[in-house]
Symmetry: C3
Subunit: 348 residues, 3 copies
C-alpha cells in the first residue's frame, strides 16, 4: 500500500467532467476537498463553497511534474480519476503519476485502448456489437468510432464502403485522424441508448446499481426534430458530441440482468487487471427491441452521467435510504475502508 | 369487508414492475414488507434492506394455489396489484385470488379487455383516438396494438391495408398472435406521448395528480438518431418495447384539464365498476399540437413510470411538502384508513 | 423606491405558468402567498395548501383596473412576473400596473419586442442565429417565428421562398398573423436545444446557474417516433407548442461558458435597461456539434422549465446545499434584501 496517513485525508480531482459532484460528495462525508484547476476556469470553481482548496495550474499537464505530485502527496490527497484524466494523458503517463489513486489506475489503460477494451468486455461475457474488421464487409448500418475517450466527437454512420471512405477522408482533412487505422467499425445496434452506473465495493464484495442516464449529443439528438422531407433536402450527417445527460429509470424486470452484467464485469476485471475495479464504472450500450443489452463501451471510472444525481437517484435512494450521489458513494467507501485500515483495497 | 386484522399489517406485492418502490414506500410508513419473488430473481431483491420477508416461488403461478394464498393471508398481508399481475393472470384468476387487494380488483378486467377499456374511457368522456374497425378503412397513419398489457411489444404502424396484412403475417409467424382478431387498430395521433399518474383517495374524495413521464421504448425511441437518408436505405420497422421512463413536467396551464380528466375517470369508474378506483391509476396518451390530450390507454393501478419518483416528484412535493412516491402514497392511504377503521373503502 | 412596508410582505403572482412553484418557494421562506386566479381555474389551485389567499378574477385583464391594483397594494404584495403576464398584456400595460414588481419590469418590453430582443442579445455579445431579412435569401433550412411569447405556437420550418410563402398563407388563414410582417426568419441552427436557468442577485452581484432543461413540444418532439418512410407518405409539418419540460445536466466543461454568457447578459442589461436584470432569467438556444451555444431567445424573468426543480436541481444543490427551486430563490432574495433594507435593488 502507498503511504497514506490515516488522518486528515483530502479528496482531490481535476476541475472538469464531474469534479463538482465528486467534491460535493466528499464534503458531505466531511472530507477536506482539493481541486486541480486550470486558471481559465477559476471563475467557475471559486463559486462552490464545498471546495476547500484550489491548486491553480496553467494546464493539467502539470500533473506530470514531480514537484506538483509531491505537493499533492504532502496534502495527503486521494486522487479521484475521471474522463478528463483519460482524455488528457496517455495510459503510460497515468500509471506514472506518483499520487494515490482511488480505484485501479491500471484498468484505465483498458478503457483507452480499443483492443484491450474489447478483450475485457468479451472476457466478461457481455453482449457486444459485431465488429467489422474489413471496410468491404460493411453491408448494413454501421458506426465508425475513434479510439480514446473523445466524448463521441468524430463518430459517423456508414452503410457501404463508399460512405466509409468519404467519412474517413473528411476526418483526415479535419486533422482528427491521420489514417483509417485510427478508427474501428461496429455494426449499428438498433435500440435505445442507456448508460448504466455501477459502484463496486471490495469491502463488502457487492456491486451496487446506482442509476442510469442517456446522453444528449449534438447534433444527433437534434435531427429528430427535423422532418424527413427537410432532412433529405439538406445534407444531414449526425455528430455525437456529448452536451449533457438526461435521467431515466429502467423497467424493473431488467434489473436482474443489470446486476448480472455488473458482476460479470467485476469478476473479469479482477482476473485480467488485478486488483479489478473497486469504485464506480459504467456499461454503455443499447437495449434492443427484445430487451437485450448490447454493451458497446465501458468506463472504468465515474462517468459524467452521474452528475444528474447530485441529490441521489431513485436507485441510490432505495439502496441507501438517503441522498447518495456517486461522488458521495466514493467518499463513503474511502471513509469506511480507512476506519477499517483497508485503504489498500481501494487505492493504487 | 374481508377479514383483516388491524394490527401488524404487512404490505405485499409481486417482485417485478414497481415492487421496489412499493415496498420502499411501505417501509417509509413503518409497515412490514413482503415480496413474492421468483427464485431466479432472489439475487436482485435480497439487496434491498427495506424488504422484510421474501416468499420464494418457482413462478408467480403459485399465487393461484390455495395454500399459498392462505399463507399470505395468515401473514396479514395487503396485496398491491401492478402490471405484472395483469400480464401474468387472466381477469378470472385475478378475481379468485383469495387475498385482500389494495384497490378495486374488478376494474383490472376493464384494463385487460380492449372492449371494456374503451367503454370506460368513453363513459369518462375522455378524448380517445378514432378506432378503425375495418382494415380496409386504413387511409392514414394508424397503429396496431395487441390486447392485454404486454408492455408495448408487438405494436406496429400501418398506412394502408397492405402494410396491415404484412404486419399481421409477421406477428402470426412469430407466434405473438393467432389471427388478426387479436389486434385492434387506432388512428395514429400526432403529438407527444405523456403518461399522467393519479391517485384517488376515497377517504378525502380527492384526486391527486402525482407526476408524469414519457416511456422510453425500443427501438422506436432510437430511430430518432438515424438520419432519414440512412433510414430509407435500411428497412426500419419500429417496435414499442418499454425499456424505461423519462421524467417530465407539464405546462402549468394544462393541469386544470389534467385534474378534470382524472375526476371524470374516477366518476365513470364508480358508476361502471363499483367501488370505482381507489388508489393509483394512469391516463396514457398524446398531447396534440393544440394542447388536447388524447387518451389511448389507462392503467387501473400503479404504473412503472412512477418508479422515477422514489424521492418524490415536483407534483407530489407541492401536494405533500415531503418526498412522496406513489408507493408511499399507497402506504399512507392504508395507514390512515386503517386508523379510521375504513379499510373496506380501499380493499377488495 | 415604491412604498413597501417591510413587515408582512406577501408574494403574489398570476395563476398559471410557474405560479405553484413560485408560491411554494415563497411559503418555504415563510412568506404569505397570494394567487390571482381565474375563476375557471379555482378548482386546480384550491388544492395547494401553500396558497394562503386566492383573488378570483373573471380574467387576468382585471390586473389593469386601478381598484384591483390598489387591493393588491393594500395587501402589501410583491408581484412576481412570469410568461403569462407577457403573453396577456402589452409592454405599455405592464409598465403601468401600479403594483411593486419583483425584478425589472422595463426589461419585459425587450423580451416581447423582437427588435429590442435582438439588440440586447447582440449587446451582450452572445452568439445568435443568422437573421434572414429577405425571404428571397432563404437558401437552407430556416425557422419562421412569431413575435411575442406564444409558447412556440405557429413556428414553422422552411427551406426556400415557396415553402415560406405557403407557411405564411396558412398562418394568415388560421388568423394567427395578419401579414408576413408578423414573423421573422432565422437560420435553423443544427444542434440540441437547451434552456439555461439563471438567477442574478444584485445584493451579492453574483450570477447563479440554477439548472437546465429542454422543452417537450407538440408535435415536433413526436415526429421522432415516425420512421422516415411513413413520414414521407403522410404530410408532416411540425408544430412547436410547448407541452412540458424534460430535465438535463450539462457537460461540466461547458459551465465556464454558461457563466460567462450569463454575466455578459447581466452587464448588457444593466447598460441598456437600468437597473438591469435582478432575479431569474433564461438563455434559450442550441448547442452545436462543436459545443458552441447559439442563443435564439431569452426570457427576462422566471421560465416554466424551472418547474422541474421544485425539489431543487443538481446545480442549485451544489450552490446552496439544500433544496432550492427558482421560486424559493426569488423568495430568499426578497427576504434577505428586505432585512438589509435594500428592496429598492430588486423591485420596480
Amino acid at each position: 500500500m502507498r503511504n497514506i496517513k490515516l488522518k486528515n485525508l483530502e479528496i482531490c480531482t481535476l476541475g472538469s467532467h464531474c469534479s463538482l459532484q465528486v467534491l460535493k460528495g466528499a464534503k458531505d462525508e466531511n472530507f477536506s476537498t482539493c481541486l486541480i484547476c486550470e486558471k481559465k476556469r477559476y471563475d467557475l470553481y471559486k463559486r462552490y463553497s464545498f471546495i476547500d482548496r484550489i491548486l491553480l495550474v496553467d494546464s493539467f499537464e502539470q500533473m506530470l511534474e514531480k514537484p506538483f505530485q509531491q505537493r499533492i502527496k504532502k496534502l495527503n490527497c486521494i486522487f479521484i480519476p475521471h474522463g478528463t484524466l483519460i482524455s488528457s494523458f496517455s495510459p503510460d503517463d497515468i500509471e506514472k503519476i506518483d499520487v494515490p489513486f482511488f480505484g485501479n489506475r491500471y484498468i484505465l489503460r483498458w478503457e483507452a485502448d480499443r483492443i484491450l477494451k474489447e478483450k475485457l468486455m468479451v472476457a466478461a461475457k457481455l453482449n457486444v456489437p459485431r465488429a467489422i474488421r474489413d471496410k468491404n464487409d460493411i453491408d448494413r448500418l454501421c458506426i465508425v468510432k475513434l479510439h480514446g475517450a473523445a466524448g463521441g466527437r468524430g463518430y459517423f454512420t456508414v452503410w457501404d464502403r463508399n460512405s466509409f471512405d468519404e467519412g474517413i477522408k473528411k476526418l483526415i482533412n479535419l486533422g482528427s485522424i491521420s489514417s483509417e487505422k485510427d478508427v474501428y467499425i461496429q455494426e449499428y445496434v438498433h435500440g435505445v441508448p442507456v448508460f448504466l452506473h455501477y459502484f463496486y465495493s471490495p469491502l463488502c464484495n457487492e456491486v451496487e446499481f446506482m442509476g442510469a442516464d442517456r446522453r444528449y449529443e449534438s447534433d444527433v439528438d437534434g435531427i429528430a426534430r427535423i422532418p424527413s422531407k427537410q432532412q433529405l433536402n439538406v445534407n444531414i450527417e449526425p455528430t455525437y458530441n456529448v452536451i449533457g445527460n438526461i435521467p431515466l429509470v429502467l423497467r424493473e424486470s431488467l434489473l436482474e440482468e443489470v446486476y448480472k452484467m455488473g458482476e460479470k464485469f467485476v469478476r473479469a476485471a479482477k482476473k485480467l487487471v488485478p486488483p479489478g475495479i473497486p469504485g464506480p464504472f459504467c456499461l454503455e450500450g443499447v437495449y434492443t427491441k427484445d430487451g437485450t443489452f448490447i454493451t458497446f463501451e465501458f468506463s472504468a471510472r465515474i462517468v459524467a452521467g452521474t452528475n444528474l444525481y447530485v441529490n441521489g437517484s431513485p436507485y441510490s435512494e432505495m439502496l441507501f435510504g438517503k441522498e447518495m450521489s456517486m461522488g458521495r458513494r466514493i467518499a463513503t467507501e474511502i471513509r469506511i475502508t480507512n476506519s477499517n485500515n483497508q485503504l489498500n483495497k481501494i487505492l493504487t
